[in-house]
């Protein structure tokens, strides 16, 4: 326990304002944890000097696993000895982030015993993140976590911990059971999750509907986003209620439809469902009147990444519609083919989206045995040259 309260004028600025402050939480932890206290000291120093003092990566982990622990060391170990090691542990979260308060207390007890007591709930990958421990504490922490029924998540060049929205547990718009699929993928890919064997990271993210609450389309190598292929369901009486209550349906619903597939005559909404692009705007605006169709499944997209500095990619359509039900055979076969082609031909640190950009979508599709279809066109081509193989064949035959 620190004897004297540390002076942190720069960090104190981050406690001002109405919003929650991570500095306040670290200070609270620092009252009884020396690691948290030295963390404050090193962080204050970083703000003074405008330079980070962490070294990242390395050799640390638990026996048999290649992921789940991110090595971190201070480059000022003499000044801040309690954070000379400050490794992060990623804990595989339950699908949908559902915990009992009893389990949360036990998790926190484990971390106060073996680490800094500081956590992220949750990290951007989805895991429960334990921030800061020493190398010697990794195995004892892992042992207590597994005794509680938890496991480490992914890190490095492996399948990262699959994550999803709360899906059918709390949302009537879920078009497939995101939590069931997340659990299935987590169990099916245990080997790939704990033993890095790919050119770089691979993320699965599952969203139950096109609202995409986990931002799968922007962050995951394979985005599995719920959709439907029949007509939007409509409760006409509820539409009338919205109109009576003062909603401007023409301006706020029909006028904002990106596909211009809706009409409002003052009494009824008409939807050209074939032209609908499943943007969810009308459903979000009138949740009591409109809802996704009954023939529900998912769209599989490929190739997103969200790096911190540059090179962000959104994923693009690979399979426009698939029914996602156990045992998910079709999905697993597809993923297997992609992993094989990417592992065989991908460069070091090349995400699958970058790999597709390098080899070309046409070659990628041919390699994984998927036929090209119009839904895969992400945007119109930028040059005017169009080549059709049959034209060349015709020329050859005539020539």
């Amino acid at each position: 326990m620190p004897e004297k309260k540390r002076k942190t004028p720069k960090l104190d600025e981050l406690e001002k304002g109405a919003w929650p402050s991570f500095v306040k939480e670290i200070k609270t932890a620092a009252e009884k944890n020396a690691m948290a206290d030295d963390l404050l000291g090193q962080l204050e120093r970083s703000y003074e000097e405008k330079i980070g003092h962490w070294k990242h990566g390395g050799i640390v982990g638990v026996l048999g696993y290649g992921g789940g622990v991110i090595g971190r060391y201070s480059d000022l170990p003499e000044e801040f000895p309690n954070v000379s090691h400050f490794h992060t542990m990623r804990i595989n979260q339950p699908a949908g982030w559902f915990y009992t308060s009893d389990v949360l207390r036990k998790l926190c007890d484990i971390w106060e015993k073996h680490g800094s007591g500081l956590t992220n709930m949750h990290g951007s990958t989805g895991d429960l993140v334990f921030l800061g421990t020493k190398t010697d504490e990794l195995e004892p922490t892992f042992k207590e976590l597994t005794d509680l029924g938890f496991d480490l998540g992914g890190s490095g060049s492996d399948v990262r911990t699959p994550s999803c929205c709360c899906g059918m547990a709390r949302c009537e718009w879920a078009c497939y059971d995101t939590m069931a699929l997340t659990y299935f993928l987590t169990m099916h890919y245990q080997d790939e999750l704990h033993r890095p064997a790919f050119p770089y990271k691979w993320k699965f993210k599952m969203s139950g509907c096109p609202n995409d609450c986990v931002a799968a389309i922007a962050r995951s190598d394979m985005s599995i986003i719920g959709t439907w292929r029949d007509d939007i369901q409509m409760d006409k009486a509820a539409v009338t209620e919205y109109a009576k209550s003062g909603m401007n349906i023409q301006k706020d619903v029909v006028g904002n439809c990106p596909a211009k597939c809706m009409e409002w005559d003052g009494k009824e909404i008409k939807i050209d469902n074939k032209a609908c692009v499943k943007c969810m705007h009308c459903i979000n605006a009138m949740p009591k009147a409109l809802s996704p169709g009954k023939d529900r499944g998912a769209c599989i997209l490929i190739g997103a990444k969200a790096p911190i500095v540059e090179g962000a990619l959104l994923s693009s359509v690979l399979i426009p519609f698939i029914k996602l039900e156990p045992p998910y055979t079709e999905l697993i076969e597809l993923v297997g083919k992609i992993h094989e082609v990417w592992s065989e031909n991908g460069k070091n640190r090349e995400r699958v989206g970058e790999f597709i950009q390098r080899v070309g979508m046409g070659n990628f599709l041919e390699a994984i045995g998927v036929e090209p279809i119009p839904e895969m066109v992400a945007h119109p081509r930028e040059n005017p040259y169009v080549f059709y193989e049959e034209y060349f064949e015709e020329e050859d035959n005539n020539g």
């Binding site: 990566g57 048999g64 290649g66 090595g71 060391y73 490095g156 060049s157 050119p199």
Partner: protein
């Protein structure tokens, strides 16, 4: 058809590759798989290579490391720890 290489045989070959190139080359799991497939030819498939990597790690002879990507190395004292 040639007899399939044992997991131990492939694991030993992998260990030798890693040991002999220490300090010069870092091996990813995919690199090791390609190297032993080339070395053993049809005697070694991807599943045997995968089991051999697992054997290397679980025996403690090698560990996974992270330096911008995941690699397989012989355990050593880490520079960052000093």
């Amino acid at each position: 058809m040639a007899e399939q290489a044992s997991v131990q045989e492939v694991s030993d070959a992998m260990y030798k590759m890693i040991r002999d190139s220490m300090g010069q080359k870092k091996w990813k799991a995919t690199d090791l798989t390609k190297a032993v497939t080339e070395l053993f030819g049809e005697r070694c498939d991807k599943n045997v290579a995968k089991s051999a990597i697992r054997d290397l790690i679980e025996s403690g002879k090698c560990v996974y490391t992270y330096f911008g990507g995941s690699f397989i190395e012989i355990p050593h004292k880490e520079g960052a720890e000093n």
